[in-house]
């Protein structure tokens, strides 16, 4: 794409407010909050990008001495323009930045409830979540304890409350035919995700509907995975797949709060109230305490506020504001500000590895009792 530099010589380069540069050690990113994309570039160009928006284009090009450097800068500008990250304006003040703040209308947005050998008092749980305005619930069932009828009963207790949708991760009962699972899903419009684990194979049952008035294909899937998810120990995986495509709300939440723990309350398989079931500290048992009391604890709230800029290694990573983080399994188990154990990305060389093979993580792996 050719830019006529003489035409724009008196204009400024303006980076659109929804295109946010994030500096990483080796690579940096531009998070496109509207299109949900991450654009990566070498970090040497980060300072160049910061400089490019400070002076008029003519002046910037004048100040560059070598022809080669000028060509490189122009190529960079053209790349930014092609991706529609920048425009050329006379007055930059007309386009202010997006306010750097995050707020929620609900004290608690999501809850994880684990079930293994006993069923919790769901009426109590859903009433208390309702008082906190909780919008999303994820039920993780590790054993055979709950059948589809019991699950239907539990879900019915979530009706007429603040809860907008439910995700279910449950053990696949192979003797139940696919169509019975499909019928179950079709009778419960509040289920937005159904995953059947510990199955024989990995496959997806697709239930396709038609186009709706916003031109999207409506479908509901049942995910079947062979992975044996028998406890909360399997949680905490950091990968590109688990990252959130950048959008204003999620980007700011990941930047200013803890992407995973913020607005979350959990009940582990023993009924212990925690930030997340994989963390050690309990704020009381659901049978004796109320959720709104438990979350008042200052330690509970501190966990919600630990953000990526405070976490070692993560603070130098170009993905830090699209990563939801994990405070339960840490590379240095007794340091709450160490990076997630299950993250195999090294921002200093910009390379991904299998986390469990990384030598430095051996002590932590042993500490938590992971077997490989």
């Amino acid at each position: 794409m050719t830019i006529n530099y003489t035409q724009i010589t008196n204009l400024y380069i303006c980076l659109y407010a929804d295109c946010i540069p994030v500096r990483g050690a080796q690579r940096s990113s531009i998070c496109d909050l509207t299109r949900g994309n991450i654009f990566l570039f070498q970090s040497e160009y980060f300072e160049i990008l910061e400089y490019l928006i400070t002076e008029r284009i003519g002046r910037i090009l004048e100040k560059i001495e070598s022809n080669e450097e000028q060509q490189n800068i122009k190529k960079f500008i053209e790349l930014l323009y092609e991706n529609e990250f920048i425009t050329f304006r006379n007055d930059q003040s007309e386009f202010p930045a997006i306010k750097d703040s995050w707020e929620s209308q609900c004290r608690i947005q999501n809850a994880i409830i684990d079930i293994d050998h006993k069923v919790h008092d769901f009426e109590k749980i859903f009433n208390e979540l309702d008082n906190l305005g909780c919008e999303f619930v994820q039920l993780r069932i590790f054993s055979d304890l709950i059948d589809l009828d019991e699950l239907t009963r539990i879900i019915s207790l979530s009706k007429n409350k603040s809860i907008e949708s439910i995700e279910i991760i449950i053990k696949h009962n192979i003797s139940i035919p696919d169509k019975e699972y499909i019928l179950f899903l079709e009778n419960e419009p509040s289920i937005v995700n159904l995953t059947l684990h510990s199955s024989l194979t990995d496959r997806i049952i697709k239930i396709n509907y038609e186009l709706d008035d916003s031109r999207k294909l409506i479908f509901r899937n049942i995910n079947i995975v062979s992975k044996n998810i028998n406890s909360h120990m399997h949680c905490g995986i950091i990968s590109i797949k688990n990252m959130t495509p950048p959008s204003t709300a999620t980007f700011l939440e990941n930047k200013l709060r803890n992407g995973c723990l913020n607005g979350k309350v959990s009940i582990d398989y023993n009924g212990e109230i925690k930030n997340c079931p994989s963390m050690k500290h309990s704020f009381g048992n659901i049978n004796e305490f109320r959720l709104n009391e438990a979350i008042e604890d200052s330690r509970f709230q501190t966990h919600e506020y630990i953000n990526k800029d405070q976490i070692k290694v993560c603070k130098d990573c170009e993905f830090r504001y699209v990563c939801s983080d994990c405070r339960a399994f840490l590379e240095v188990p007794n340091d709450i500000y160490s990076k997630p154990l299950k993250c195999g990305y090294n921002p200093y060389v910009a390379e991904w590895s299998e986390w469990h093979l990384i030598h430095e993580k051996k002590y932590a792996i042993q500490h938590y009792g992971f077997m490989f």
Binding site: A17, C106, G133, D213, S214
Partner: protein
């Protein structure tokens, strides 16, 4: 309590209710214009100019309502009336059905008159459907630039104008077509602002339906300003590089959505906007402009019930919280409110 008149599909209303719950102890009653009696039964009593409502099982007295938001719809507080069909008297049946509708409509107007004269309200029960042409006039009076337009029902005259000014668009004088037929055809039907060229009028008859054509502004971006009581929240919509959204940015491109970014308007523009809303006796709504490459701001229209949640989220304006705060302030200071009636 705080009362919100809306429609059941409105997501923005739900967000505002959540904020009111977060920021205050006020109970919120939501009355949707499109509920069926099975999901919302309304009974009422009017004694002189005081009324009592019963919504499902909840009794509501007029003096219990501390503030109101007219968000969306019309003719709330009335149940759906079944249409009658008298054998052999089809035309009279239709007339009777219309009669019953107008009974309902007049009563609704009266109930909302009582509400707006005694309770602080955000929004307006009868002004959701402004006359766009009259608003264009008022915008000019306040000092806004308006793209020049021409109206006629004579196709040869329209052809003549189009011959002279090549770059024109046509759009509805009321609202564009926005209709869903879920029951029979399962289609949705929409019309937008479209470019219009002379050759498109070739096969038309001489007298056609009244048609509105307007100069197409070479735009740099669209500007939408959300007005709330006395503040403006401005968003620039960068729709220009996309062929699909170039003329009407509502023809959304789902693959490559337009950028919505915050915009800083001048004090002068803000003052004119406040003036126009006061002139229209509206305390909220959204106002659309088109900004050309020379930074001229052209007024397009006002929408008293605008969709703003997408913009509110992408620009982090949190308008739903601002609306909740406004309703709570109104409720707390009922006696301070300036009533128009």
């Amino acid at each position: 309590m705080i009362c919100i008149f809306s429609g059941k599909k409105d997501f923005t209303t739900t967000q505002v209710i959540k904020w009111i719950n977060n920021l205050s102890e006020y109970e919120v009653i939501r009355i949707n214009y499109d509920e069926t009696p099975s999901s919302q039964l309304i009974t009422f009593e009017v004694i002189n100019n005081d009324f009592t409502l019963k919504i499902d099982d909840r009794v509501v007295r007029l003096n219990e309502i501390k503030s109101v938001w007219y968000r969306k719809g019309k003719n709330w507080l009335l149940n759906f009336q079944e249409r009658i069909k008298i054998k052999d008297h089809f035309n009279f049946s239709e007339y009777l059905n219309d009669k019953i509708s107008s009974e309902q409509y007049k009563l609704s107007e009266y109930l909302h008159y009582l509400i707006t004269s005694q309770i602080p309200c955000l929004g307006n029960p009868t002004k959701n459907d402004l006359n766009k042409l009259i608003v264009l006039e008022m915008a000019k009076q306040v000092g806004f630039l308006v793209p020049s337009f021409y109206i006629s029902n004579i196709s040869s005259q329209l052809k003549k104008i189009l011959h002279e000014s090549k770059d024109m668009v046509t759009k509805a004088m009321s609202d564009g077509i926005y209709f869903f037929d879920h029951k029979q055809t399962e289609y949705g039907y929409f019309s937008y602002t479209e470019t219009i060229q002379v050759h498109e009028l070739e096969k038309l008859r001489e007298i056609i339906g009244p048609s509105f054509i307007q100069k197409n502004i070479r735009k740099a971006f669209d500007l939408r300003v959300f007005f709330l009581v006395d503040r403006c929240f401005s968003i620039a919509i960068i729709s220009q590089t996309d062929q699909k959204t170039k003329i009407d940015f509502r023809k959304y491109n789902d693959q490559k959505p337009n950028r919505n970014v915050p915009y800083l308007i001048s004090n002068e523009l803000e003052a004119k906007i406040c003036q126009l809303f006061r002139k229209l006796q509206l305390n909220t709504g959204s106002i659309d402009f088109v900004v050309d490459i020379d930074n001229n701001f052209y007024f397009l229209e006002i929408n008293p019930v605008g969709q703003f949640t997408n913009f509110s989220i992408s620009c982090n304006f949190n308008l739903e919280k601002e609306i909740a705060k406004t309703l709570i302030t109104y409720a707390n200071n009922k006696s301070d409110f300036e009533f128009c009636n």
